[in-house]
């Protein structure tokens, strides 16, 4: 038993280091760093490359990685991205670090190559037992991990609570101006925190490397497990986070002797402990301030931020454009492309476009969930996977018709959405994002690993449907089928937006207090949207599975879900055309690279998706709206005599920015 406890403490210490860095950087900047796994992966790979490939001594590699590369990277990321996030809305903060996570993980593989290193050498080459306590041997490596975790914990605590640095960072988060007036430059302090944090992330990455191997997924799952500690520490408390992370590691280890030899408990319980604890901690602690989505405790973006000015600018250009011609430009291009595909491209590409439109159906779920209900839903991919799996079960195992199975699967997904929504929707935006991510990771471990669903990782067969007497085995027919379903779902979403519900959702997005004082049921409305989104995702899952003839559970992992989120958010989460473009780019991008570029560039699309999502910091309305605004500006410039009344001019922009400032603000 004691040996399990020690092993658990070591794993817990690794979680704890990541959790502590997250807590410290969150305290310093209020940015919840979803990209931590990607950062650790990159820095660990740097160390491995210097040490093994270049052949530098371990100490030199370590110093170069965490004392030179890590701080430079921390400064660079702070300069171009992280430093700009503190004034952004919570949604943008999350989307940007999720984009960064996607870009960094893929970029590292792109940079260092594809070969998975399964057992890289860590800091200590010569692992041996150094101490024996009560008959349990403790190795030098284990001592090192536990020791570093303790040092980081004490260091974080002292930094945040006992030094002027902590005071300045906390002050800078609440009011940068006030901190400046005290004669300190908070920017230097916050940048310094990111640089130091990056070094610790790098060190943790190097420590964790021998255990998980050098692959992005392994790093992400360790960091995701550390989120449990962070949540238990309510994002800000160092000791609770430390203890929580240790608890997760220990629990994961001490249950081993009690597990049966086979069955779901054996396979699913251990890996799902962190996420179960995360959900329990969120629900149990949700009475506290900041966790619940209270009217009073909502985070509101500062209107003076660059992002808000950009929104104001785009809105001033787009003003009065309801039903205007530029709205149809994108649709016309999309329509022409889809109609022309079968006549211009070979059968292979028609198939790729069919996959893309199937993805697009699934991605439409982000419009109700993120676009309307403003939930950063990171488990949408799990609903898609549940839809795929359920379609396979209904059609192949129970022999129902394919289309009937798809609709039933959508209902199953919607039901799962109801459960997740009941837990996540009362939470604030950040906690809801973490909770949905925890659900996605749980689904990975508990649902998608079930032998019935995964069929030994081969997936369960799903046939193509027969529609209107045509058996849709031809990719061209299937493309039209997916386009038709996409249009039907889009029409439903469009009709909802123009109905009374649409007016209500707009009000809820703009002001919760206003909505509640008008008698609008906020929770019920948002729950309805979330369930609708899950249903759409499930339907999309069925269509994807049927297109590929298989419900392959490995295709719906939480990690891939981050990429999906990044792709959608870059297009604008409430844009229907954006969902189509996002779906197509998810299918066409990798196919283009696979066919025309060398295989070592396979990660290029993912890097681009991540970078596009990061761009949301300067274009919060998404690429589509930004491009429409640019088309309008261009058109107005080309036809100066017929300027649309919304033409942007500096004065309009200023007025907008000023008039949007709440009364009583310091401006």
């Amino acid at each position: 038993m004691l040996s399990y406890l020690v092993a658990g403490l070591v794993t817990g210490s690794l979680y704890a280091i990541f959790a502590l860095v997250l807590v410290t950087t969150y305290n310093a900047s209020h940015v919840f760093n979803f990209a931590q796994g990607g950062m650790a992966f990159f820095l660990a790979y740097c160390f491995y490359w210097l040490n093994t490939d270049v052949g530098l001594p371990t100490v030199v590699s370590l110093v170069l990685s965490i004392v030179v590369i890590a701080p430079i990277m921390g400064w660079f990321l702070w300069r171009v991205l992280l430093g700009r996030l503190s004034t952004a809305t919570p949604l943008i903060r999350l989307a940007a670090t999720i984009g960064l996570s996607v870009a960094l993980s893929a970029g590292t593989t792109l940079l260092f190559g594809h070969d998975q290193v399964l057992q890289p050498a860590g800091l200590i080459r010569n692992v041996r037992s150094v101490v024996t306590i009560a008959g349990v041997n403790i190795s030098n490596e284990q001592m090192l991990v536990i020791g570093i975790a303790l040092i980081v914990a004490i260091g974080s605590f002292l930094l945040l609570n006992r030094t002027a640095v902590g005071l300045v960072t906390r002050g800078a988060v609440d009011s940068e101006m006030m901190t400046v007036l005290t004669g300190t430059n908070p920017k230097v302090v916050v940048a310094g925190t990111w640089m130091a944090g990056m070094s610790v992330i790098g060190l943790a990455g190097i420590l964790v490397m021998p255990q998980v191997g050098l692959n992005a997924a392994g790093f992400s799952s360790v960091v995701a497990a550390s989120f449990a500690g962070v949540v238990i520490g309510r994002l800000t408390n160092v000791w609770w986070a430390f203890g929580g992370a240790l608890l997760v590691g220990v629990l994961q280890s001490v249950v081993i002797p009690y597990l049966p030899d086979s069955g779901i408990l054996t396979t699913a319980l251990r890996p799902s402990i962190p996420f179960l604890l995360m959900v329990i901690a969120i629900v149990a602690r949700s009475r506290g301030a900041g966790v619940r989505d209270d009217v009073a405790s909502r985070e509101v973006a500062k209107l003076s931020s660059a992002a808000e000015r950009s929104v104001a600018h785009v809105q001033s250009v787009m003003r009065g454009t309801r039903g205007s011609w530029d709205r149809y430009v994108g649709w016309a291009v999309l329509g022409v492309v889809l109609v022309a595909v079968p006549y211009v491209f070979s059968g292979f590409w028609v198939g790729v476009f069919a996959v893309g439109m199937a993805y697009a159906i699934a991605l439409l779920c982000f419009r109700p969930v993120t676009g309307e209900a403003a939930v950063v839903g990171l488990c949408q991919i799990s609903f898609v996977g549940i839809g795929a799996v359920a379609t396979a079960q209904f059609s192949t195992t129970y022999g129902l018709g394919i289309i009937t199975s798809m609709l039933l699967a959508a209902c199953v997904s919607a039901l799962c959405g109801l459960v997740v929504g009941l837990v996540c929707l009362p939470l604030g935006q950040l906690y809801a994002a973490i909770a949905t991510y925890a659900f996605a990771l749980l689904a990975d471990q508990v649902i998608f690993t079930r032998p019935t669903f995964s069929n030994n990782d081969a997936g369960v067969f799903v046939d193509r449907p027969t529609f209107g007497g045509v058996y849709l085995t031809n990719d061209q027919d299937y493309l039209y089928f997916t386009v038709a379903i996409f249009l039907i779902v889009a029409l439903v979403l469009f009709l909802i937006r123009r109905s009374t519900l649409g007016l209500r959702f707009a009000t809820i997005r703009a002001s919760r207090v206003r909505a509640s004082s008008l008698g609008i049921p906020i929770f019920r409305s948002r729950l309805a949207l979330f369930v609708l989104g899950a249903g759409i995702a499930g339907l999309g899952g069925g269509v994807i599975a049927s297109n590929q003839y298989v419900a392959f559970t490995g295709a719906y992992s939480a990690l891939l879900g981050l990429t999906w989120f990044a792709v959608v958010i870059a297009q604008g989460s409430s844009s229907i055309g954006g969902a189509a473009v996002a779906g197509l780019s998810l299918a066409v991008g990798p196919a283009l690279v696979a066919n025309y570029l060398p295989s070592r560039l396979a990660e290029l699309p993912a890097v681009l998706f991540g970078l596009l999502a990061i761009m949301i910091v300067s274009n919060p309305s998404g690429i589509n709206t930004m491009m429409r605004a640019q088309i309008r500006t261009l058109a107005a410039r080309l036809t100066p005599e017929r300027k649309p009344d919304g033409t942007q001019s500096p004065t309009t922009d200023d007025q907008t920015a000023v008039s949007a400032t709440p009364v009583g603000s310091s401006r």
Partner: protein, 267 residues
């Protein structure tokens, strides 16, 4: 949007009894009672930090009181969600107008008109066909004309100046067919001329529709001019209440305002 003629003037619409609110150790309100009657403007004044806005938040269900009772008409709504208050036909405005940037002025009113329709299926109204029915269009036209907003009906609220945005919020409250209306510092940031227009409007609407209006204001002259009854808060306690002439001469009120009131009141 006819005037509420089924009740007589002067009946108690809103009754706050012994309301106390604590924020941690801070006692924001201590045993405060207040009534608002139909067809009358009830004023609520007090220095900064006196607890006026907190009391309004309690009266509209946004803040739950630690103790005390809130009654709307004859219904005990203490501790209920703000939606319950809205269904009991209470409406309020906010210091910073809480309007929807995505909607134009008329859409704000249409949403409010539909807010009292709880029939199943009403949520999907106008999913098909016209976005705004002829009947709704007529009602909004009437309301927009009444508040002088006819020429901005199709404008997005971001384009409107502060005073107009406050009027839109009032219009939205009236479109809900509210019987009790709470106004939180409605004239803050308005010019003298805009304030005059606004106060005339409040008096007119209150009288014509027999609405109980509660107004929280820093502009004491305005409150004393239009209110039938005035309540004065200081440090979370009700220090005086009465008609405007009583308040003008109240020593307690003058003391609360540390003499600055005297100069104002002597005018």
């Amino acid at each position: 949007m006819t005037a509420v003629a089924d009740t007589k003037v002067g009946e108690v619409r809103l009754q706050l009894s012994d309301i106390s609110v604590n924020f941690g150790g801070v006692k924001a309100l201590q045993n405060v009672s207040l009534q608002a009657r139909s067809g009358q403007v009830t004023g609520l004044i007090g220095p900064n930090g006196a607890g006026k806005s907190t009391l309004l938040a309690v009266a509209s269900g946004i803040q739950r009181p630690n103790s005390g009772i809130v009654r709307l008409e004859d219904q005990d709504v203490t501790g209920a969600r703000p939606q319950v208050y809205a269904h009991a036909r209470m409406a309020r405005t906010f210091q910073a107008p809480q309007l929807v940037p995505d909607l134009d002025v008329r859409e704000h009113l249409v949403l409010a008109l539909r807010s009292n329709n709880h029939k199943p299926g009403s949520a999907l109204k106008s999913a098909f066909g016209k976005r705004i029915t002829t009947d709704e269009f007529g009602k909004t036209e009437q309301l927009l004309a009444e508040l002088g907003l006819a020429n901005v009906a199709a404008k997005g609220v971001r384009e409107l100046p502060l005073g107009t945005r406050r009027l839109v919020e009032v219009a939205q409250c009236l479109a809900c067919d509210s019987r009790t209306l709470l106004l939180d510092e409605p004239t803050a940031g308005l010019s003298r001329a805009e304030t005059a227009v606004f106060s005339d409007l409040v008096v007119r609407v209150c009288r014509d529709r027999n609405i109980a209006v509660v107004i929280v204001e820093h502009d004491i002259d305005l409150v004393l001019d239009i209110s039938a009854r005035v309540f004065v808060l200081d440090f979370g306690r009700l220090i005086d209440e009465g008609d405007p002439s009583h308040i003008r001469n109240s020593k307690k009120v003058q003391a609360a305002y540390l003499g600055t009131m005297e100069a104002d009141l002597d005018v």
